[in-house]
């Protein structure tokens, strides 16, 4: 294991709906090391974006409990001014929707410069402009001097996403959080953007949290992967293990539901992702979606079990899980290596 850059301990992020608080992120503990890509996978409503926003301190109305240690310092309780010193400098974020994440009334140059003004006030005007142009070059924008004076509406989606990346890497952050960075983009543009993120990461040696619902993107990008379901991490492993030897029923179901070579029928996960206020708060949260698995195989209060070094799985039901389409025996013995 490398150096710990970010350590999230027992994080609970809750939102108020009506008179109650509901935890969208429910007791999540994760670490991100330097020069490592941690992929966080989950469907909508899994709490993955809420987790990212918690790390960046971007929730304005959520209740946050637990601790987030960044380079050993807890940033949950940090005063706003100190947090602002970190954001955009030591840690930064790439957003999902390049169409709305840029200020429509500000020139591209000014939007990138802003983050330099905030964190490197000693820079002269000229230095700053040179640096911005260099950044635009780095993220692969042609004719940077020209783009510097353009407005967001004049750029394509892929170009805007590059600008957002330029903003994020302007101060060479130690931690880069990418929240569905390619979801809104075409597949060829996606390949380019992922390539860019990969290149920048290895140049800067930053830790990266890559949040996505796309298993293919994670398989390509991540070193380690955390799978989230209903606000909890249900499985963590290095990327090879997770894709080649997945354990948790949810992970396995998810992997079987995307089309792959030689697959005749896709696996269908029964039921729906419950809404935040209807989340099961006791027992295995995935239990109701695998009703054919006997209920006594679930733990009462499921915890993460380390089944091999670095490979954690929540609940004990994974030992007994099989797909209903397949003969029960074959799978139970064939896949349980423990």
């Amino acid at each position: 294991m490398g150096d710990k850059l970010l350590e999230i301990k027992n994080l609970i992020t809750s939102f108020r709906i009506g008179d109650h608080y509901y935890a969208a992120v429910d007791n999540v503990s994760l670490t991100v090391n330097k020069n490592e890509v941690l992929g966080i996978v989950g469907e909508s409503g899994s709490g993955k974006s809420a987790l990212a926003f918690s790390v960046m301190g971007l929730h304005t109305k959520a209740k946050i409990e637990g601790s987030i240690l960044f380079n050993g310092k807890d940033i949950v309780s940090l005063p706003k001014s100190e947090l602002n010193g970190l954001r955009g400098d030591d840690m930064s974020m790439i957003f999902q929707d390049p169409l709305t994440a840029l200020n429509p009334l500000m020139e591209i140059g000014a939007q990138i410069s802003e983050t330099l003004i905030l964190h490197r006030p000693q820079m002269s005007l000229k230095e700053r402009k040179d640096h911005v142009i260099e950044l635009l070059n780095m993220v692969g924008i042609p004719r940077p001097e020209y783009v510097y004076e353009q407005f967001p509406h004049e750029l394509s989606g892929g170009m805007r996403q590059r600008v957002i990346i330029a903003i994020a890497i302007a101060n060479r952050p130690e931690l880069l959080i990418a929240d569905e960075p390619t979801t809104a983009l075409d597949v060829t543009i996606q390949a380019q953007i992922l390539d860019l993120v990969r290149k920048l990461k290895s140049e800067m040696g930053s830790g990266v949290i890559l949040i996505t619902h796309d298993l293919g993107v994670v398989a390509e990008m991540a070193d380690r992967v955390a799978v989230m379901y209903a606000g909890q991490v249900v499985e963590i492993a290095d990327v090879q293990t997770l894709f080649n030897n997945p354990k948790h029923p949810y992970t396995r179901s998810l992997l079987n539901s995307v089309p792959a070579e030689g697959q005749d029928k896709l696996h269908v996960i029964q039921g729906i992702v419950p809404a935040l206020q209807n989340l099961p708060r006791e027992g295995c949260r995935f239990a109701e979606r695998i009703p054919w698995i006997e209920s006594n195989t679930h733990e009462k209060d499921p915890v993460l079990h380390e089944i091999s070094p670095g490979h954690f799985v929540r609940c004990t039901c994974y030992k007994h899980f099989y797909f209903p389409e397949e003969p029960k025996e074959a799978k139970v013995y064939g896949n349980t290596r423990g």
């Binding site: 709906i17 809420a50 926003f53 304005t60 809404a275 206020q277």
Partner: protein, 301 residues
């Protein structure tokens, strides 16, 4: 993330009651101020229409030179005006008239505006372009001046003529609103789906699109009702509203342009002013509460 949060709560809300109108009603009842306003409004309407039914309007508007400018007394609850006419009676009948004209104009201009807006928005393109140029023009005109001029040049001036003139210049606001909403709506797949299923344009506009903007229509009509009551009394105040023989709240207020009346004979104009204020506030409260109910972002948690 905040947005996410909101979506969740609005999903929950809509899951409970299927129809938009029911949501509107529930929000309205939950909003204390709006509920009080609504009850007050209903009381005023029932009272005014009820009392004016048993009142002798001819008697009230008859000039009585022996009872000029009498302060409130047992005979005249709110005194008399410069013609010796009973102010209380005029207030009741004036309120009734103002409300009636408010309803008529709101409905007429609403019908024109909604149809105009739906057609412009749904068909878009050239039709929309032409209709919007017409609307732009109407909207930029100094509405009140044109109404005044038309009122003054119409021979055989009646309440009907007044409502028609008023309507002719007050359908634009709702038309613009409905049009922009219809533009958004028609892009939604359910409209496209109806087209592929062989449903006619007329049916799509009035059976598919219109129910989906019904809450917007109700909100706008309510708010328009308030402003139409205000505008009618304003016009009557200037002397271009109801014909002279018809009592109106604005007419009572116009007596206050006489400094003597303004300073010393409060009973003539203050009740009318209060009545207009109460009516407009009450109607607006109801309208704003309805608006909040339709606007998910402003919905109270």
């Amino acid at each position: 993330m905040e947005m996410n949060n909101m979506n969740m709560s609005s999903q929950q809300d809509s899951a409970k009651s299927p129809s938009g109108l029911k949501i509107l009603w529930r929000e309205l009842v939950r909003d204390k101020l709006a509920l009080v306003s609504l009850i007050l409004l209903i009381l005023i309407i029932v009272f005014v229409y009820g009392v004016s039914f048993i009142m002798d309007e001819k008697e009230i508007v008859k000039v009585d030179l022996f009872a000029i400018h009498e302060p409130p007394s047992e005979e005249f609850i709110l005194g008399t005006d410069y013609g010796g006419r009973d102010v209380f009676g005029q207030l009741i009948i004036g309120t009734r008239n103002s409300l009636s004209i408010g309803f008529i104009v709101t409905l007429l201009s609403g019908m024109i505006g909604i149809t105009f807006g739906l057609i412009a928005g749904f068909f878009g393109g050239h039709i929309d372009n032409v209709l919007m140029r017409i609307l732009d023009f109407f909207q930029v005109l100094p509405f009140i001046m044109l109404v005044i001029v038309f009122v003054s040049i119409v021979p055989n001036y009646t309440i009907l003529a007044f409502s028609l003139i008023f309507t002719a210049f007050s359908w634009m606001g709702i038309a613009r609103l409905i049009r922009s909403k219809a533009l958004q709506e028609k892009e939604l797949d359910y409209v496209q789906a109806s087209r592929t299923l062989g449903t006619s344009n007329f049916k799509i506009i009035f059976r598919e699109v219109m129910p989906n903007i019904s809450s917007l229509i109700i909100v706008t009509l309510t708010l328009n009702l308030a402003s139409n009551i205000g505008l009618e009394s304003g016009l009557s105040f200037l002397g271009f509203g109801f014909p002279e023989s018809t009592p109106s709240l604005g007419t009572l207020l116009s007596y206050a342009t006489n400094p003597q009346t303004l300073e010393h004979r409060w009973w003539i104009w203050v009740p009318a002013a209060v009545m207009i204020l109460v009516l407009m506030l009450a109607v607006r409260n109801v309208g704003e509460a309805l608006r909040r109910a339709t606007d998910a972002r402003q919905r109270r948690g």
